[in-house]
Protein backbone atom coordinates (compact mmCIF):
# COMPACT_ATOMS: atom_id res chain seq x y z
CA UNK A 1 0.00 0.00 0.00
CA UNK A 2 1.41 3.33 -1.09
CA UNK A 3 1.66 5.93 1.71
CA UNK A 4 -0.48 8.22 -0.41
CA UNK A 5 -3.21 5.62 -0.73
CA UNK A 6 -6.35 6.31 1.31
CA UNK A 7 -7.90 3.05 0.20
CA UNK A 8 -6.22 -0.16 -0.87
CA UNK A 9 -8.27 -3.13 -2.03
CA UNK A 10 -6.60 -6.47 -2.77
CA UNK A 11 -8.20 -9.67 -4.08
CA UNK A 12 -11.67 -8.72 -2.94
CA UNK A 13 -14.39 -11.33 -3.45
CA UNK A 14 -17.96 -10.95 -2.25
CA UNK A 15 -21.07 -13.09 -2.29
CA UNK A 16 -24.73 -12.50 -1.60
CA UNK A 17 -27.15 -15.13 -0.30
CA UNK A 18 -26.44 -18.55 1.12
CA UNK A 19 -26.68 -22.15 0.00
CA UNK A 20 -27.90 -22.82 -3.50
CA UNK A 21 -28.87 -19.19 -4.11
CA UNK A 22 -25.43 -17.91 -3.14
CA UNK A 23 -24.20 -15.64 -5.89
CA UNK A 24 -20.77 -14.07 -6.30
CA UNK A 25 -20.93 -10.31 -6.87
CA UNK A 26 -17.21 -9.38 -6.91
CA UNK A 27 -14.29 -11.33 -8.33
CA UNK A 28 -10.73 -10.57 -7.26
CA UNK A 29 -11.19 -6.79 -7.24
CA UNK A 30 -8.04 -4.79 -6.52
CA UNK A 31 -7.73 -1.03 -6.58
CA UNK A 32 -6.14 1.87 -4.76
CA UNK A 33 -7.33 5.45 -4.25
CA UNK A 34 -4.77 8.19 -3.80
CA UNK A 35 -5.24 11.04 -1.37
CA UNK A 36 -7.05 13.96 -2.99
CA UNK A 37 -7.94 12.09 -6.17
CA UNK A 38 -11.35 11.91 -7.81
CA UNK A 39 -12.11 8.44 -9.13
CA UNK A 40 -15.18 7.59 -11.16
CA UNK A 41 -16.51 4.06 -11.14
CA UNK A 42 -18.62 3.07 -14.12
CA UNK A 43 -20.35 -0.05 -15.26
CA UNK A 44 -23.71 -1.48 -16.14
CA UNK A 45 -26.35 -2.19 -13.54
CA UNK A 46 -25.42 -5.23 -11.44
CA UNK A 47 -21.73 -4.96 -12.23
CA UNK A 48 -20.80 -4.60 -8.55
CA UNK A 49 -20.20 -0.83 -8.25
CA UNK A 50 -22.49 -0.39 -5.27
CA UNK A 51 -21.04 -3.45 -3.54
CA UNK A 52 -17.56 -1.95 -3.84
CA UNK A 53 -18.85 1.36 -2.42
CA UNK A 54 -20.55 -0.28 0.53
CA UNK A 55 -17.54 -2.47 1.34
CA UNK A 56 -15.10 0.47 1.26
CA UNK A 57 -17.65 2.53 3.19
CA UNK A 58 -17.71 0.02 6.07
CA UNK A 59 -21.40 -0.66 5.45
CA UNK A 60 -20.87 -4.38 4.72
CA UNK A 61 -18.50 -6.92 6.18
CA UNK A 62 -15.54 -7.96 4.06
CA UNK A 63 -15.87 -11.69 3.33
CA UNK A 64 -12.69 -12.46 1.42
CA UNK A 65 -9.69 -10.38 0.41
CA UNK A 66 -8.38 -7.20 1.96
CA UNK A 67 -9.73 -3.68 2.21
CA UNK A 68 -7.49 -1.18 3.96
CA UNK A 69 -9.18 2.12 4.70
CA UNK A 70 -7.21 5.01 6.22
CA UNK A 71 -4.60 2.51 7.32
CA UNK A 72 -7.00 0.10 8.98
CA UNK A 73 -7.81 -3.39 7.73
CA UNK A 74 -11.58 -3.81 7.49
CA UNK A 75 -11.51 -7.62 7.38
CA UNK A 76 -12.35 -8.67 10.93
CA UNK A 77 -12.83 -5.10 12.20
CA UNK A 78 -15.29 -4.71 15.06
CA UNK A 79 -18.56 -2.78 14.72
CA UNK A 80 -17.17 -0.06 17.00
CA UNK A 81 -14.09 0.31 14.77
CA UNK A 82 -16.28 0.50 11.68
CA UNK A 83 -18.45 3.20 13.28
CA UNK A 84 -15.36 5.29 14.08
CA UNK A 85 -14.08 4.87 10.52
CA UNK A 86 -17.44 5.84 9.02
CA UNK A 87 -17.25 9.17 10.87
CA UNK A 88 -14.23 10.01 8.70
CA UNK A 89 -16.16 9.37 5.50
CA UNK A 90 -18.71 11.41 3.61
CA UNK A 91 -21.65 9.68 1.94
CA UNK A 92 -23.70 11.14 -0.89
CA UNK A 93 -26.59 8.94 -1.91
CA UNK A 94 -28.57 8.97 -5.11
CA UNK A 95 -31.64 9.82 -3.01
CA UNK A 96 -30.80 12.77 -0.79
CA UNK A 97 -32.00 10.98 2.39
CA UNK A 98 -32.43 14.23 4.26
CA UNK A 99 -34.32 14.11 7.53
CA UNK A 100 -37.72 15.59 6.75
CA UNK A 101 -38.15 17.08 10.23
CA UNK A 102 -34.84 18.93 10.19
CA UNK A 103 -34.10 22.18 8.38
CA UNK A 104 -31.31 22.34 5.80
CA UNK A 105 -28.82 23.65 8.35
CA UNK A 106 -29.92 21.07 10.96
CA UNK A 107 -29.43 18.28 8.44
CA UNK A 108 -25.91 19.52 7.78
CA UNK A 109 -25.27 19.94 11.53
CA UNK A 110 -25.86 16.19 11.81
CA UNK A 111 -22.71 15.75 9.72
CA UNK A 112 -20.75 17.69 12.35
CA UNK A 113 -22.36 16.44 15.55
CA UNK A 114 -21.34 12.88 14.79
CA UNK A 115 -17.94 13.98 16.10
CA UNK A 116 -18.26 14.27 19.87
CA UNK A 117 -17.34 17.44 21.72
CA UNK A 118 -18.19 20.01 19.06
CA UNK A 119 -20.14 22.97 20.42
CA UNK A 120 -23.57 23.72 18.97
CA UNK A 121 -22.50 27.18 17.72
CA UNK A 122 -19.44 25.76 16.00
CA UNK A 123 -21.51 23.05 14.35
CA UNK A 124 -24.10 25.56 13.13
CA UNK A 125 -21.44 27.93 11.79
CA UNK A 126 -19.71 25.08 9.94
CA UNK A 127 -23.06 23.87 8.56
CA UNK A 128 -24.04 27.35 7.36
CA UNK A 129 -20.63 27.70 5.69
CA UNK A 130 -20.99 24.31 3.96
CA UNK A 131 -24.43 25.31 2.67
CA UNK A 132 -22.88 28.50 1.35
CA UNK A 133 -20.33 26.44 -0.59
CA UNK A 134 -23.17 24.66 -2.41
CA UNK A 135 -25.03 27.90 -3.03
CA UNK A 136 -27.76 27.54 -0.43
CA UNK A 137 -26.96 30.35 1.99
CA UNK A 138 -30.48 31.66 1.59
CA UNK A 139 -32.12 28.31 2.30
CA UNK A 140 -30.55 27.30 5.61
CA UNK A 141 -33.84 27.44 7.57
CA UNK A 142 -35.88 25.58 4.98
CA UNK A 143 -37.30 22.13 5.58
CA UNK A 144 -36.57 19.58 2.82
CA UNK A 145 -40.24 19.65 1.83
CA UNK A 146 -39.77 23.28 0.79
CA UNK A 147 -36.64 22.66 -1.30
CA UNK A 148 -36.39 21.51 -4.92
CA UNK A 149 -34.85 18.14 -5.77
CA UNK A 150 -31.58 19.79 -6.78
CA UNK A 151 -31.47 21.89 -3.61
CA UNK A 152 -32.06 18.81 -1.46
CA UNK A 153 -29.20 17.03 -3.19
CA UNK A 154 -26.92 20.02 -2.59
CA UNK A 155 -27.86 19.94 1.12
CA UNK A 156 -26.88 16.25 1.12
CA UNK A 157 -23.55 17.19 -0.50
CA UNK A 158 -22.99 19.87 2.15
CA UNK A 159 -23.79 17.31 4.87
CA UNK A 160 -21.22 14.90 3.43
CA UNK A 161 -18.50 17.53 3.13
CA UNK A 162 -19.07 19.65 6.24
CA UNK A 163 -16.59 17.83 8.44
CA UNK A 164 -13.93 17.58 5.73
CA UNK A 165 -13.98 13.80 5.33
CA UNK A 166 -10.93 11.87 4.26
CA UNK A 167 -12.98 9.99 1.67
CA UNK A 168 -16.26 10.82 -0.06
CA UNK A 169 -18.29 7.92 -1.42
CA UNK A 170 -20.95 9.12 -3.81
CA UNK A 171 -23.61 7.31 -5.79
CA UNK A 172 -24.89 9.33 -8.74
CA UNK A 173 -24.52 12.61 -6.82
CA UNK A 174 -25.40 14.79 -9.80
CA UNK A 175 -28.39 12.85 -11.07
CA UNK A 176 -30.88 15.35 -9.68
CA UNK A 177 -28.85 18.44 -10.55
CA UNK A 178 -28.93 20.73 -13.56
CA UNK A 179 -25.80 21.19 -15.62
CA UNK A 180 -24.45 24.19 -13.71
CA UNK A 181 -25.19 22.78 -10.28
CA UNK A 182 -23.62 19.43 -11.25
CA UNK A 183 -20.47 21.20 -12.42
CA UNK A 184 -20.34 23.23 -9.18
CA UNK A 185 -20.63 20.10 -7.04
CA UNK A 186 -17.92 18.22 -8.93
CA UNK A 187 -15.69 21.29 -8.90
CA UNK A 188 -16.25 21.51 -5.15
CA UNK A 189 -15.18 17.88 -4.75
CA UNK A 190 -12.12 18.50 -6.93
CA UNK A 191 -11.27 21.64 -4.96
CA UNK A 192 -11.55 19.77 -1.65
CA UNK A 193 -9.26 17.13 -3.06
CA UNK A 194 -6.61 19.70 -3.88
CA UNK A 195 -6.93 21.94 -0.83
CA UNK A 196 -7.83 19.47 1.91
CA UNK A 197 -6.80 16.12 0.46
CA UNK A 198 -10.34 14.74 0.37
CA UNK A 199 -10.48 11.67 -1.87
CA UNK A 200 -13.63 10.98 -3.87
CA UNK A 201 -14.93 7.72 -5.27
CA UNK A 202 -18.12 8.18 -7.15
CA UNK A 203 -20.41 6.06 -9.21
CA UNK A 204 -21.97 7.88 -12.15
CA UNK A 205 -23.19 7.67 -15.68
CA UNK A 206 -22.93 11.43 -16.05
CA UNK A 207 -20.49 12.18 -18.88
CA UNK A 208 -20.10 15.73 -17.58
CA UNK A 209 -18.18 14.33 -14.62
CA UNK A 210 -15.93 12.04 -16.61
CA UNK A 211 -13.93 15.01 -17.92
CA UNK A 212 -13.09 16.06 -14.38
CA UNK A 213 -12.11 12.58 -13.09
CA UNK A 214 -8.49 11.71 -12.29
CA UNK A 215 -9.22 8.09 -12.99
CA UNK A 216 -12.05 6.01 -14.37
CA UNK A 217 -12.65 2.41 -13.26
CA UNK A 218 -14.91 0.22 -15.35
CA UNK A 219 -16.61 -2.78 -13.77
CA UNK A 220 -18.38 -5.61 -15.53
CA UNK A 221 -19.81 -8.72 -13.91
CA UNK A 222 -18.00 -8.04 -10.65
CA UNK A 223 -14.58 -7.54 -12.24
CA UNK A 224 -12.55 -4.43 -12.98
CA UNK A 225 -12.14 -4.56 -16.71
CA UNK A 226 -10.52 -1.22 -17.41
CA UNK A 227 -8.62 1.48 -15.52
CA UNK A 228 -8.19 4.77 -17.31
CA UNK A 229 -5.81 7.33 -15.82
CA UNK A 230 -6.89 10.85 -16.80
CA UNK A 231 -4.54 13.12 -14.92
Amino acid sequence: MDREDIVSVQGLNHWFGTGEVRKQALYDVSLALKRGSLTVMMGPSGSGKTTVLTLIGCLRSVQEGSVRLLGQELMGATEAQLILLRRRLGFIFQAHNLHESLTAVQNVVMGVQVHPGIADDTAETAAAHALGLVGLSDRIGYLPANLSGGQKQRVAVARALVSTPALVLADEPTAALDKDSAAEVVDLLKRMGKTRGTTTLLVTHDNRILDRADRILSLEDGRIVKIEERA
Binding site: T50, F91, H99, E100, L102, Q113, V114
Partner: protein, 390 residues
Protein backbone atom coordinates in the same frame (compact mmCIF):
# COMPACT_ATOMS: atom_id res chain seq x y z
CA UNK B 1 -39.02 23.56 23.98
CA UNK B 2 -36.65 22.66 21.15
CA UNK B 3 -33.83 24.68 22.75
CA UNK B 4 -34.53 23.17 26.17
CA UNK B 5 -34.32 19.63 24.79
CA UNK B 6 -31.19 20.51 22.80
CA UNK B 7 -29.59 21.72 26.00
CA UNK B 8 -30.85 18.65 27.88
CA UNK B 9 -29.64 16.05 25.36
CA UNK B 10 -26.58 17.95 24.06
CA UNK B 11 -27.68 17.41 20.46
CA UNK B 12 -30.46 18.35 18.07
CA UNK B 13 -33.78 17.23 19.63
CA UNK B 14 -34.57 14.96 16.71
CA UNK B 15 -37.22 13.02 18.62
CA UNK B 16 -39.14 16.19 19.48
CA UNK B 17 -38.81 17.52 15.92
CA UNK B 18 -40.01 14.19 14.49
CA UNK B 19 -43.01 14.02 16.81
CA UNK B 20 -44.11 17.63 16.28
CA UNK B 21 -43.68 17.47 12.50
CA UNK B 22 -46.92 15.51 12.19
CA UNK B 23 -49.15 17.58 14.49
CA UNK B 24 -52.39 15.56 14.20
CA UNK B 25 -50.55 12.32 14.96
CA UNK B 26 -48.71 13.96 17.84
CA UNK B 27 -52.00 15.27 19.27
CA UNK B 28 -53.58 11.82 18.93
CA UNK B 29 -50.59 10.24 20.68
CA UNK B 30 -50.80 12.72 23.55
CA UNK B 31 -54.54 12.13 23.82
CA UNK B 32 -53.85 8.40 24.01
CA UNK B 33 -51.30 8.79 26.80
CA UNK B 34 -53.61 11.22 28.60
CA UNK B 35 -56.47 8.72 28.30
CA UNK B 36 -54.32 5.98 29.80
CA UNK B 37 -53.38 8.37 32.62
CA UNK B 38 -57.02 9.23 33.29
CA UNK B 39 -57.84 5.54 33.39
CA UNK B 40 -55.06 4.92 35.91
CA UNK B 41 -55.97 7.98 37.99
CA UNK B 42 -59.62 7.00 38.25
CA UNK B 43 -58.89 3.38 39.13
CA UNK B 44 -56.14 4.40 41.53
CA UNK B 45 -58.38 7.09 43.02
CA UNK B 46 -61.15 4.57 43.67
CA UNK B 47 -58.64 2.10 45.07
CA UNK B 48 -57.17 4.78 47.34
CA UNK B 49 -60.63 5.90 48.38
CA UNK B 50 -61.42 2.33 49.28
CA UNK B 51 -58.32 2.41 51.45
CA UNK B 52 -59.34 5.71 53.04
CA UNK B 53 -62.90 4.51 53.49
CA UNK B 54 -61.61 1.32 55.10
CA UNK B 55 -59.39 3.20 57.52
CA UNK B 56 -61.86 5.99 58.27
CA UNK B 57 -63.92 4.19 60.97
CA UNK B 58 -60.69 3.18 62.72
CA UNK B 59 -60.10 6.90 63.13
CA UNK B 60 -63.30 7.26 65.18
CA UNK B 61 -61.73 5.25 67.99
CA UNK B 62 -58.61 5.34 70.11
CA UNK B 63 -57.22 2.00 71.19
CA UNK B 64 -53.93 0.14 71.44
CA UNK B 65 -55.11 -3.43 70.95
CA UNK B 66 -58.10 -5.00 69.23
CA UNK B 67 -59.41 -8.50 69.89
CA UNK B 68 -61.52 -9.99 67.11
CA UNK B 69 -63.03 -13.29 66.00
CA UNK B 70 -60.80 -15.61 63.91
CA UNK B 71 -62.74 -14.82 60.72
CA UNK B 72 -62.94 -11.05 61.31
CA UNK B 73 -60.85 -9.84 58.36
CA UNK B 74 -62.48 -6.43 58.44
CA UNK B 75 -64.12 -4.18 61.02
CA UNK B 76 -67.61 -5.03 59.76
CA UNK B 77 -66.97 -8.66 58.92
CA UNK B 78 -66.69 -11.91 60.80
CA UNK B 79 -68.14 -13.44 63.91
CA UNK B 80 -68.41 -12.17 67.45
CA UNK B 81 -66.08 -12.48 70.40
CA UNK B 82 -67.10 -13.43 73.90
CA UNK B 83 -67.22 -10.54 76.36
CA UNK B 84 -65.43 -12.75 78.88
CA UNK B 85 -62.19 -12.23 76.94
CA UNK B 86 -62.42 -8.56 77.81
CA UNK B 87 -62.45 -9.48 81.47
CA UNK B 88 -59.53 -11.85 81.00
CA UNK B 89 -57.57 -9.21 79.13
CA UNK B 90 -58.13 -6.72 81.92
CA UNK B 91 -56.10 -9.07 84.13
CA UNK B 92 -52.94 -8.06 82.30
CA UNK B 93 -51.11 -5.43 84.34
CA UNK B 94 -50.49 -3.20 81.31
CA UNK B 95 -54.13 -3.13 80.17
CA UNK B 96 -55.68 0.07 81.54
CA UNK B 97 -59.18 -0.24 80.18
CA UNK B 98 -61.33 -2.14 77.70
CA UNK B 99 -64.50 -1.60 75.75
CA UNK B 100 -66.77 -3.87 73.76
CA UNK B 101 -67.57 -2.63 70.28
CA UNK B 102 -70.82 -3.60 68.58
CA UNK B 103 -71.28 -3.04 64.86
CA UNK B 104 -74.35 -3.35 62.66
CA UNK B 105 -76.01 -1.66 59.71
CA UNK B 106 -79.14 0.36 60.42
CA UNK B 107 -81.50 1.09 57.51
CA UNK B 108 -83.12 4.51 57.32
CA UNK B 109 -86.06 5.09 55.04
CA UNK B 110 -85.47 8.55 53.61
CA UNK B 111 -88.48 8.53 51.34
CA UNK B 112 -86.84 8.81 47.91
CA UNK B 113 -84.18 6.31 48.87
CA UNK B 114 -83.20 4.13 51.77
CA UNK B 115 -79.80 4.63 53.26
CA UNK B 116 -77.79 2.31 55.41
CA UNK B 117 -75.77 3.60 58.36
CA UNK B 118 -72.94 1.56 59.80
CA UNK B 119 -73.75 1.83 63.46
CA UNK B 120 -71.33 1.45 66.35
CA UNK B 121 -72.65 0.47 69.75
CA UNK B 122 -70.28 1.80 72.41
CA UNK B 123 -70.10 2.32 76.12
CA UNK B 124 -70.97 6.02 76.59
CA UNK B 125 -69.09 6.18 79.86
CA UNK B 126 -65.75 5.57 78.17
CA UNK B 127 -64.87 8.65 76.16
CA UNK B 128 -61.19 7.64 76.19
CA UNK B 129 -61.93 5.12 73.44
CA UNK B 130 -63.33 7.74 71.09
CA UNK B 131 -61.43 10.26 69.02
CA UNK B 132 -61.38 13.73 70.60
CA UNK B 133 -63.74 15.03 67.89
CA UNK B 134 -66.43 12.61 69.04
CA UNK B 135 -65.59 12.00 72.69
CA UNK B 136 -66.92 15.38 73.84
CA UNK B 137 -70.48 14.51 72.85
CA UNK B 138 -70.41 10.98 74.13
CA UNK B 139 -72.43 11.81 77.27
CA UNK B 140 -75.49 12.46 75.08
CA UNK B 141 -75.58 8.78 74.20
CA UNK B 142 -76.56 7.91 77.73
CA UNK B 143 -80.07 9.00 76.76
CA UNK B 144 -81.97 5.99 75.42
CA UNK B 145 -82.22 5.90 71.60
CA UNK B 146 -79.90 8.87 71.24
CA UNK B 147 -77.40 8.92 68.40
CA UNK B 148 -74.47 10.84 66.97
CA UNK B 149 -75.05 11.08 63.22
CA UNK B 150 -72.57 11.27 60.37
CA UNK B 151 -73.15 14.68 58.78
CA UNK B 152 -71.35 13.61 55.59
CA UNK B 153 -73.47 10.51 55.05
CA UNK B 154 -74.91 9.97 51.58
CA UNK B 155 -78.59 10.85 51.37
CA UNK B 156 -78.49 13.47 54.12
CA UNK B 157 -78.36 17.02 52.85
CA UNK B 158 -75.65 19.27 54.26
CA UNK B 159 -78.26 21.81 55.38
CA UNK B 160 -80.27 19.15 57.14
CA UNK B 161 -77.16 17.86 58.90
CA UNK B 162 -76.03 21.38 59.86
CA UNK B 163 -79.37 21.96 61.60
CA UNK B 164 -78.89 19.01 63.98
CA UNK B 165 -78.13 20.32 67.47
CA UNK B 166 -79.18 19.21 70.99
CA UNK B 167 -81.85 21.94 70.86
CA UNK B 168 -83.04 20.92 67.40
CA UNK B 169 -82.42 17.17 67.14
CA UNK B 170 -83.42 15.01 64.21
CA UNK B 171 -85.55 11.93 64.86
CA UNK B 172 -86.21 9.06 62.53
CA UNK B 173 -87.71 5.59 62.65
CA UNK B 174 -85.58 2.51 62.20
CA UNK B 175 -86.02 -1.12 63.14
CA UNK B 176 -89.23 -0.15 64.92
CA UNK B 177 -87.51 2.40 67.15
CA UNK B 178 -87.36 6.13 67.09
CA UNK B 179 -83.75 7.23 67.00
CA UNK B 180 -82.84 10.82 67.81
CA UNK B 181 -79.63 12.38 66.58
CA UNK B 182 -78.51 15.24 68.84
CA UNK B 183 -75.16 16.09 67.32
CA UNK B 184 -73.16 15.14 64.27
CA UNK B 185 -69.62 14.10 63.47
CA UNK B 186 -67.62 13.95 60.24
CA UNK B 187 -67.59 10.54 58.56
CA UNK B 188 -68.64 10.03 54.95
CA UNK B 189 -69.99 7.37 52.67
CA UNK B 190 -68.03 4.19 52.26
CA UNK B 191 -68.27 0.99 50.25
CA UNK B 192 -70.17 -0.89 52.99
CA UNK B 193 -72.62 1.82 53.96
CA UNK B 194 -73.82 5.34 53.25
CA UNK B 195 -72.44 6.77 56.46
CA UNK B 196 -71.97 6.14 60.18
CA UNK B 197 -73.86 6.46 63.43
CA UNK B 198 -72.78 6.13 67.06
CA UNK B 199 -75.21 4.86 69.69
CA UNK B 200 -74.84 3.50 73.19
CA UNK B 201 -74.50 -0.26 73.57
CA UNK B 202 -77.97 -0.33 75.14
CA UNK B 203 -79.55 1.51 72.22
CA UNK B 204 -77.65 -0.76 69.85
CA UNK B 205 -79.06 -3.86 71.52
CA UNK B 206 -82.57 -2.45 71.28
CA UNK B 207 -82.05 -1.88 67.57
CA UNK B 208 -80.56 -5.34 67.01
CA UNK B 209 -82.67 -7.59 69.16
CA UNK B 210 -80.84 -10.77 68.16
CA UNK B 211 -77.53 -9.37 69.36
CA UNK B 212 -76.27 -9.84 72.90
CA UNK B 213 -74.04 -7.70 75.06
CA UNK B 214 -72.04 -10.83 75.84
CA UNK B 215 -70.96 -11.17 72.20
CA UNK B 216 -69.60 -7.92 70.78
CA UNK B 217 -67.92 -7.69 67.38
CA UNK B 218 -64.58 -6.54 68.73
CA UNK B 219 -62.91 -5.71 72.01
CA UNK B 220 -60.84 -2.56 72.23
CA UNK B 221 -58.11 -2.22 74.85
CA UNK B 222 -56.15 0.80 76.02
CA UNK B 223 -52.79 0.28 77.69
CA UNK B 224 -51.12 2.15 80.50
CA UNK B 225 -48.78 4.92 79.34
CA UNK B 226 -45.37 3.55 78.29
CA UNK B 227 -46.56 -0.03 77.91
CA UNK B 228 -45.13 -2.06 75.03
CA UNK B 229 -48.03 -2.88 72.69
CA UNK B 230 -46.42 -5.86 70.95
CA UNK B 231 -45.23 -7.37 74.22
CA UNK B 232 -48.75 -7.00 75.67
CA UNK B 233 -50.24 -8.58 72.53
CA UNK B 234 -47.91 -11.54 72.99
CA UNK B 235 -48.86 -11.88 76.66
CA UNK B 236 -52.56 -11.65 75.91
CA UNK B 237 -52.26 -14.44 73.33
CA UNK B 238 -51.09 -16.78 76.05
CA UNK B 239 -53.33 -15.29 78.73
CA UNK B 240 -56.67 -15.53 76.90
CA UNK B 241 -58.04 -19.04 76.80
CA UNK B 242 -59.20 -19.02 73.16
CA UNK B 243 -56.06 -19.40 71.01
CA UNK B 244 -58.01 -18.87 67.77
CA UNK B 245 -58.78 -15.21 68.56
CA UNK B 246 -57.12 -12.49 66.51
CA UNK B 247 -55.29 -10.34 69.03
CA UNK B 248 -53.49 -7.51 67.25
CA UNK B 249 -52.37 -4.00 67.85
CA UNK B 250 -55.06 -1.56 66.74
CA UNK B 251 -52.74 -0.18 64.04
CA UNK B 252 -52.02 -3.70 62.71
CA UNK B 253 -55.73 -4.49 62.64
CA UNK B 254 -56.37 -1.41 60.50
CA UNK B 255 -53.53 -2.30 58.08
CA UNK B 256 -54.66 -5.93 57.84
CA UNK B 257 -58.18 -4.75 57.06
CA UNK B 258 -56.77 -2.47 54.35
CA UNK B 259 -54.70 -5.27 52.82
CA UNK B 260 -57.71 -7.56 52.92
CA UNK B 261 -59.91 -5.01 51.11
CA UNK B 262 -57.28 -4.33 48.46
CA UNK B 263 -56.04 -7.83 47.76
CA UNK B 264 -58.74 -10.30 48.72
CA UNK B 265 -62.04 -8.52 48.25
CA UNK B 266 -63.36 -8.50 44.64
CA UNK B 267 -63.63 -4.71 44.58
CA UNK B 268 -59.96 -4.26 45.44
CA UNK B 269 -58.88 -6.83 42.87
CA UNK B 270 -61.10 -5.28 40.17
CA UNK B 271 -59.69 -1.79 40.74
CA UNK B 272 -56.17 -3.23 40.87
CA UNK B 273 -56.78 -4.78 37.46
CA UNK B 274 -58.16 -1.44 36.28
CA UNK B 275 -54.83 0.18 37.09
CA UNK B 276 -53.00 -2.63 35.30
CA UNK B 277 -55.20 -2.22 32.22
CA UNK B 278 -54.52 1.53 32.24
CA UNK B 279 -50.78 0.85 32.29
CA UNK B 280 -51.13 -1.68 29.45
CA UNK B 281 -53.21 0.73 27.38
CA UNK B 282 -50.55 3.41 27.86
CA UNK B 283 -47.81 0.94 27.03
CA UNK B 284 -49.52 -0.12 23.80
CA UNK B 285 -50.32 3.44 22.71
CA UNK B 286 -46.78 4.71 23.26
CA UNK B 287 -45.30 1.60 21.64
CA UNK B 288 -47.58 2.01 18.62
CA UNK B 289 -46.60 5.66 18.19
CA UNK B 290 -42.90 5.03 18.62
CA UNK B 291 -42.68 1.93 16.46
CA UNK B 292 -44.62 3.68 13.66
CA UNK B 293 -42.30 6.63 13.99
CA UNK B 294 -39.23 4.40 13.79
CA UNK B 295 -40.67 2.61 10.74
CA UNK B 296 -41.41 5.96 9.07
CA UNK B 297 -37.85 7.15 9.54
CA UNK B 298 -35.87 4.01 8.76
CA UNK B 299 -34.11 5.62 5.78
CA UNK B 300 -33.09 8.63 7.84
CA UNK B 301 -31.87 6.37 10.63
CA UNK B 302 -29.96 4.26 8.11
CA UNK B 303 -28.36 7.47 6.81
CA UNK B 304 -27.31 8.44 10.31
CA UNK B 305 -25.91 4.94 10.80
CA UNK B 306 -23.88 5.31 7.62
CA UNK B 307 -22.57 8.66 8.88
CA UNK B 308 -21.21 6.97 12.00
CA UNK B 309 -23.89 7.43 14.62
CA UNK B 310 -23.89 4.53 17.07
CA UNK B 311 -26.68 2.57 18.80
CA UNK B 312 -26.79 4.94 21.79
CA UNK B 313 -27.74 7.83 19.54
CA UNK B 314 -30.76 5.97 18.17
CA UNK B 315 -31.82 4.76 21.60
CA UNK B 316 -31.53 8.36 22.74
CA UNK B 317 -33.95 9.53 20.04
CA UNK B 318 -36.54 6.89 20.88
CA UNK B 319 -36.25 7.54 24.61
CA UNK B 320 -36.47 11.28 23.96
CA UNK B 321 -39.75 10.67 22.13
CA UNK B 322 -40.97 8.41 24.94
CA UNK B 323 -40.13 11.11 27.48
CA UNK B 324 -41.89 13.82 25.49
CA UNK B 325 -45.01 11.66 25.11
CA UNK B 326 -44.93 10.61 28.75
CA UNK B 327 -44.49 14.12 30.18
CA UNK B 328 -46.77 15.97 27.77
CA UNK B 329 -49.46 13.30 27.91
CA UNK B 330 -49.36 13.32 31.70
CA UNK B 331 -50.35 16.98 32.06
CA UNK B 332 -53.80 16.76 30.41
CA UNK B 333 -54.24 13.34 32.05
CA UNK B 334 -53.63 14.93 35.46
CA UNK B 335 -56.07 17.78 34.82
CA UNK B 336 -58.88 15.56 33.51
CA UNK B 337 -58.19 12.87 36.15
CA UNK B 338 -58.39 15.46 38.95
CA UNK B 339 -61.65 16.83 37.59
CA UNK B 340 -63.23 13.37 37.31
CA UNK B 341 -62.13 12.30 40.79
CA UNK B 342 -63.38 15.55 42.33
CA UNK B 343 -66.73 15.16 40.61
CA UNK B 344 -67.02 11.52 41.65
CA UNK B 345 -66.07 12.43 45.21
CA UNK B 346 -68.84 15.05 45.35
CA UNK B 347 -71.46 12.67 44.01
CA UNK B 348 -70.53 9.62 46.10
CA UNK B 349 -69.10 11.34 49.21
CA UNK B 350 -66.30 8.80 48.99
CA UNK B 351 -62.88 10.21 49.91
CA UNK B 352 -61.98 10.59 46.22
CA UNK B 353 -59.49 13.16 45.03
CA UNK B 354 -56.05 13.74 43.58
CA UNK B 355 -53.17 13.45 45.99
CA UNK B 356 -49.57 14.54 45.47
CA UNK B 357 -48.30 11.00 46.02
CA UNK B 358 -50.77 9.64 43.46
CA UNK B 359 -49.78 12.29 40.90
CA UNK B 360 -46.06 11.66 41.46
CA UNK B 361 -46.37 7.88 41.32
CA UNK B 362 -48.50 8.00 38.15
CA UNK B 363 -46.04 10.47 36.57
CA UNK B 364 -43.09 8.20 37.34
CA UNK B 365 -45.11 5.20 36.13
CA UNK B 366 -45.98 7.04 32.91
CA UNK B 367 -42.35 7.89 32.22
CA UNK B 368 -41.43 4.29 33.04
CA UNK B 369 -44.04 2.69 30.76
CA UNK B 370 -43.16 5.18 28.02
CA UNK B 371 -39.49 4.25 28.34
CA UNK B 372 -40.41 0.56 28.33
CA UNK B 373 -42.44 1.07 25.15
CA UNK B 374 -39.47 2.93 23.69
CA UNK B 375 -37.15 0.08 24.59
CA UNK B 376 -39.44 -2.39 22.78
CA UNK B 377 -39.78 -0.06 19.77
CA UNK B 378 -36.00 0.22 19.35
CA UNK B 379 -35.97 -3.40 18.16
CA UNK B 380 -37.27 -2.08 14.84
CA UNK B 381 -34.12 0.02 14.48
CA UNK B 382 -32.22 -3.11 13.51
CA UNK B 383 -34.08 -2.96 10.19
CA UNK B 384 -32.31 0.30 9.32
CA UNK B 385 -29.46 -1.07 7.16
CA UNK B 386 -27.29 1.68 5.69
CA UNK B 387 -26.06 -0.67 2.94
CA UNK B 388 -29.60 -0.56 1.51
CA UNK B 389 -29.28 3.17 0.90
CA UNK B 390 -27.07 2.75 -2.18
Amino acid sequence: MSRLLQWLFGRLPIGWLQLTRNRPRFAAALAGVAFANVLIFVQLGIMNSMGSATLRPYGFFQADIMISAPDANALSEGGNVARQWLLQAMADPDVADGMALLIGNVPWDRGERDISLTTFGIDPTKPGFLSPAIAGDLGLLQVQDAALLDRLARGISRDEAAAIRPQTPLSFESEGRRITAYVTFAGGGGFGGDGYMMVSDQTFLSLFRTRSSSAPDHILLRLRPGADVQATVARLRSLISDPTLRIRSYADAAQEDLRYQQTRRPTGIIFGFGVLIGVLVGLVIVYQVLSTDVADHLREYATFKAMGYGPRFFLGIVFEEALVLGVMGFIPGLIVGTAILTLMGRITTLPLGMTASMAISVFLGTVLFSALSGAIATRRLAAADPADLF
